[in-house]
Amino acid sequence: MKMTDPETTMPAATASQEVMRAEGLSVALPIDGRMVPVVTDVSFGVSRGEAVALVGESGCGKSMTASAIIGLPPRGAQVTGRLIVNGREVLGLSPRQRRKLCGNEIGFIFQEPMTALHPTLRIGRQMTDTICHNLGLSRRAATERAVEILDTVGIPRPRAILQGYVHQLSGGMRQRVMIALALSCEPSLVIADEPTTALDVTIQAQVLDLMERMRKEFDLGMLFITHDLEVVRDFCDRAVVMYSGDVVERGSAAGVTRAPAHPYTRGLIEAVPGETTDRLVPIPGSVPQIGAWPEGCRFAPRCARADAKCRTHPPLDAENPTAVRCWHPLEEIA
C-alpha cells in the first residue's frame, strides 16, 4: 500500500517557502592526482518547517552533500551544479560571502559535539563570538541571547553553563549546547549530521523531541542526515536515499520507509532486525569504494533484480518529488 503523498498534490505551495534547493549538485575530490566523483547530480529542496532526511550508509555521499551545502567541502574539492539558499545562488560566491551566509542562514549540528566545540574555550565565549559575529550584537547583548537560547533548549542554569567547558557536560547536554549554538543566529535552515547517533536511546528520544519542538517553534527547515530508517520514519516529512553518490530514491518519509521503490532501500529496511527472529536478509557484498563505482546502476552488482539493462545508468525524474533511479523498481510510482 502506498501512502498518499501530500507534496505531489501541492508542489507549488511549498516551492515558494523553499529555504534551500540543490540542483544537479556534484562534488569531486582530488584522490591520487585525479578528480574522483563522490556526489553526482543530487537534486532536492528543503522548505520552511519541514524535515528532510538524507539517508544512506557510510560512503554514500550524504555528509559530503551537507558540507557542500554549508560551503565547507574538503580542501581541493570541486563543487558543481546549482545551490540556492533563500532564493540566492551561492555556489559562485566567495568564501567570505559564503561564511557570512552560512552562519546567518544555515545552522549546523554535528554528530560529535566534542569535535565541533572548542575544548579549552568557555562555552559562553564560543557562543557569544558566534552571535556577535553573525548578528552584530554587543558582547553583553550576545550573552543575553545565549542565555535565552540555552534556556529554550532546556539547559538548566544557563549562566553557569556559559562559564563552563564542553568536557564538563554529558553527551546529551553537549548536543543541546550544539543545538543552541546552531539556533543562536536565527537560521532558516538547520543541517544535522547524525545528531543522535552517538547518544543513548533514552537521551536520543529527548534530543529528537527538542529538535522537533525547535523546528515547529522557529518554522525551521531541517536537513537530517542519518543512516537510521526508524528515525526517518519517525521524525522526517520527506526522504532522499543515497547510494554511492547517487540519489536512488526520493519521496515522502512514510512512503519511502513503508513501501520503498528501490531495491537498495528495501534491502536496508530488511537488514534491520525486527520483532521476529526470522533470519535476516542482508544485502550481499559491500558498498563499492569511492573511485571504483561500477558503470551503469551502481547498486546492480548487489541487486537480485539486475539484468543487462542495468549496465546503463538509470535516470531520476527531476520534475517529480517522488522518484526512483531504477530500471526495475519494486512498485509503480503513483
Partner: protein
Amino acid sequence: MTAPLLETRALCKTFGKVQAVRSVDLALPRGRTFGLVGESGSGKSTVARLVLRLIEATSGDIRFGDEDLRRLGGEALRRRRRRMQMIFQDPYGSLNGRMTVGETLVEPQLVHDIGTGGRARRDRARSLLREVGLPDSAMDRFPHEFSGGQRQRIAIARALATDPELIVADEPVSALDVSVQAQILNLLGDMQREHQTTMLFISHDLRVVRYVCDEIAVMYLGEIVERGPRDRVYDRPAHPYTQALLTSAPGSPRKDGKRAKLAGEIPSADAIPTGCAFRSRCPHAFDRCKIEAPRMQDVGGGQTAACHLLDR
C-alpha cells in the same frame, strides 16, 4: 538443566570512587547466547572484561565450568584462556595491522599449542576463513585491505581458532553499516549454533539483542535490574527502566506527543542515588525507593526484576 558454563556471584569492580559494577550475579547457560543490555556507563563492558579477567574484580566470584576463575594464575589461567575468546567493537583496532590474516589466524593456534606443524595450522586457518565467508586468498593480505565487515569476519575467525567454549562479543556490530551488520549477525548466529558456543553478547542496541539472544539481562548504573528469557523481557518488561528503554526507540508510541519516556540523564557512577539507583529518573518512584535498594525477585517464567513496585 545443566550447570551454567559461566557464573558470577556478587561481582564488583570499583575504579577509585566509581562503582562500575555492583554485585552482579550472572549465569550463562551452555550453548546459548546471553545478552547484556544497557546504556553507556551501565557497566556492561566492564563485566565483559571482568569475566575474562582482562581486568581484576574488586570482589565476588567467577566460576568457569567447575573452576574458580579468580584463583587461577599463571599457566592455569593461560590454558583456560584458550577456552574464552573475545570479539571487539572495532575490528580495526583489535587486529594487528602488521600481521597478515594468515598469521593472525595461526598465532592463537601456536600460543595455545593447537595442531602439529605449520601446514596443519595454515590449513585450519584457511578452513576458518571459509567458514566466515572469506576466500583463501585473504591469507596473505593485511587487515587494512578489508572493509569493516570483512575485518569483523576475520576477528570472528580468530576467535574460533582456539575452539573456545565461551565467546564474549562486545558491541560486535555497532561500528558496521546496517547492510553489513545483518551479514555479521547471521554469521554469529550460524557460528554459535554450529559450534554450540556459549556467547555473552553485549550491546546497547535492543533490536540487535532481541534478534541474537536467548536470555537477557538489563544493566543500569552497574547493577542488573531485570533478567529473563528474551520473549518474556521484551513482551512483559517488569522494571520501569526496561519498559522505558523498549519504548524510547524511534517509532514507539508517544505519550503527550513526546518520544522521551525518561527525564534527565544517567547519574554519574561516583554519585549513585541512595536506595534504588534508578529512582532519580523513574516516573513511578515513591518514598521507599529513596531508602531501600530493591532486591531481585521472581516475576514468573524465569524472569526476575528489582523494583519495589512489584510488592504493590
